[in-house]
């Protein structure tokens, strides 16, 4: 406890903190430290346990596991390159669509297009999208979305089939419905965090932009967007992370087919979807292979987050002059 060297000073009301206050201070510090430590330990434990379970598979398959393209239980060959591709491709498509829509939504909600009350109602509705369970998105995708986009996919395939993106026709589940649903699922995350980023831009910056004689779009695109860029990038990284890990809706919609294709209408597979659909009936070696796949998914998510942080830092440095 800190000693009080000023005991001779005569005051009526001011006095040093009591020993009880110092004790409470210490206690609180201990509690938050403990909470933080638990979280770190939990992450470390999960990584350790995954690695331990996957270890036999890592020894047996090595790097071939990451670049192999067959998943055959009978032949005991396991490779997850199609799943890595499917995970990244579907998430990237979702980010393009959902990220673009989310940022556009944030602009619409914050840049005086609506009055505050309407804008808050709108925002609540968008955030409610996040409350819809994944399985409901999956069902909606199967019964509504796939029939809805089939004619368009047919037409695109027939007329623009020479473009790899439209190289096959949509027979049912596939990349396009999966990516569309993923886009809707990450939309609320991207929109909500981007809205906060735009709201954090000080009013004086907006004044400065209009004071220079910008039109509304010039103010938004040339001033507000760069100023909010680090927050918007954070929103996109979080959205992308969510898309990478999304499981249920994708397991229902992507077709679970072990192939690498650029076509939007071909069935594909993702790591999370592979895990969800294979675990229930997996034999001992396949379980170890799945653990290896889970480790790979974890690594991808981690890498994406690190990359995102780095891009955000670069943006902050460029736009705000901070280290």
């Amino acid at each position: 406890m800190a000693s009080n060297p000023f005991t001779e000073v005569v005051t009526k009301i001011s006095k040093a903190p009591s020993s009880g206050e110092y004790a409470a201070d210490k206690l609180l510090r201990g509690i938050v430290w403990a909470c933080a430590a638990v979280i770190l330990l939990l992450v470390a434990y999960i990584v350790f346990e995954l690695g331990r379970q996957a270890f036999p598979a890592i020894i047996r398959f090595g790097i071939d596991f990451l670049i192999g393209t067959t998943w055959d239980v009978q032949k005991q060959t396991f490779g997850i390159l199609p799943e890595i591709w499917g995970t990244l491709f579907s998430s990237l498509l979702a980010l393009l669509l959902g990220g673009g829509l989310g940022v556009a939504m944030a602009i619409f909600l914050t840049q005086d297009f609506l009055d505050d009350r309407v804008s808050n109602v709108f925002r609540t509705v968008v955030e409610m999208l996040a409350a819809i369970p994944s399985v409901v998105y999956g069902l909606w995708g199967i019964y509504v979305l796939i029939p809805l986009i089939r004619p368009a996919s047919q037409w695109l395939n027939e007329t623009l089939g020479w473009i790899p993106l439209f190289g096959t026709s949509l027979s049912g589940p596939g990349m396009a419905p999966a990516a569309l649903v993923l886009a809707v699922m990450i939309l609320p995350t991207v929109a909500a965090i981007s809205v906060d980023a735009f709201r954090r831009v000080p009013y004086k910056v907006k004044e400065a932009a209009y004071g220079m004689g910008t039109t509304r779009w010039e103010a938004i695109l040339k001033v507000m967007l760069p100023t909010a860029s680090s927050g918007i990038l954070a929103a996109l990284v979080l959205g992308f992370g969510r898309a990478l890990g999304e499981t249920m809706a994708l397991a229902m919609l992507i077709g679970n087919s072990n192939q690498i294709s650029l076509s939007l209408f071909a069935p594909a597979n993702t790591l999370a979807s592979l895990l969800a659909s294979s675990f229930p009936e997996a034999g001992p070696l396949e379980v170890k292979a799945l653990m290896y796949a889970a480790l790979a998914l974890l690594a991808i998510t981690l890498l994406v987050n690190i990359l995102g942080l780095w891009v955000m830092k670069a943006a902050t440095r460029k736009f705000e002059g901070k280290a």
Partner: protein, 280 residues
């Protein structure tokens, strides 16, 4: 600043200032009848001509509407949804509040420097070049940027770090950067809303010297809390006060004239009180 006024401001409810007849040419003829924020009457009955190549200083106690009037001159107040303007602001003979006038156009000709430094989160160079790009300037950007920074007395300090963010500068430097940004496009009129209130005395002095130079090229409207500043740089001074007779706080013009006359030989008792309160 809050000098106690011996004269009861409530007695001035119907008072309307003697219109100031400038000798030289005017760029802006501002005739405020009423300015409202929602139902709140913020300013009433104020006629403020802004003369060409002169610095017109707006002074008065807090809440007297001097900033509101200044910001009405380039339609900055249009950003506030509840703002309503009654009257005319003739800029080169054209009422800028006429229905077919786009405020964006007005602000391209009448630039503004704000109370708080507000550089954009981009490089120093891009901050100054912003207005040039906006106006689709075709020509030597480097030269224009350098000239603007030199005129704003900032060039020497930043010439080796033009790529650094404008936000990395100190407060005083940021304000001079904002001035450079505003004058780079060589607008016709420059409005300055308490540009030195966030600056230390040295930076204030630099900005004041800059204003005197700018006067050669531009016409300047200056709101200031600092009466010495008005006497140092103002050619003409408009003194505003607050009217609380109707239960609100309504600003209005009390007196306007050449700065020396307003400070040394004020016609209105209220002006006398305010000016004396500051100096005695």
């Amino acid at each position: 600043m809050s000098a106690v006024l011996a004269i009861d401001p409530t007695e001035t409810g119907e008072f309307i200032a003697e219109p100031y007849q400038p000798e030289g040419a005017t760029v802006i003829d501002c005739n405020v009848e009423r300015i409202f924020y929602g139902d709140f009457l913020a300013v009433r009955d104020s006629t403020v001509p802004v003369e060409k190549n002169k610095i017109t200083a707006f002074i008065g106690p807090s809440g007297c509407g001097k900033s509101t009037v200044l910001r009405s001159l380039n339609r900055m107040n249009d950003l506030i949804p509840v703002f309503r303007f009654q009257g005319r602001v003739d800029y080169h003979g054209q009422d800028i509040y006429a229905k077919d006038v786009d405020p964006v156009v007005v602000r391209r000709y009448i630039g503004m420097v704000f109370q708080q430094p507000n550089p954009f989160s981009m490089s120093i160079y891009d901050n100054v070049a912003f207005g040039l790009k906006l106006n689709k300037f075709k020509g030597d950007y480097d030269e224009k940027v350098q000239t603007a920074l030199e005129r704003a007395a900032l060039w020497k300090e930043v010439k080796d770090k033009l790529k650094n963010s404008g936000l990395s500068l100190s407060g005083g430097q940021q304000q001079r950067l904002c001035i450079a940004r505003a004058i780079a496009t060589e607008p016709d009129v420059l409005l300055m809303d308490e540009p030195c209130s966030a600056l230390d005395p040295i930076a204030t002095r630099q900005v004041e010297e800059l204003m005197l130079e700018l006067r050669e090229r531009f016409t300047v409207g200056l709101v200031t809390h600092n009466m010495q500043q008005a006497t140092r740089v103002g050619d003409t001074t408009a003194f505003f006060s607050v009217d609380i007779s109707k239960g609100g706080r309504t600003g209005y013009l009390v007196e306007m004239g050449p700065t020396q006359a307003v400070f040394e030989d004020p016609k209105q008792d209220l002006t006398k009180e305010y000016v004396r309160g500051e100096f005695s």
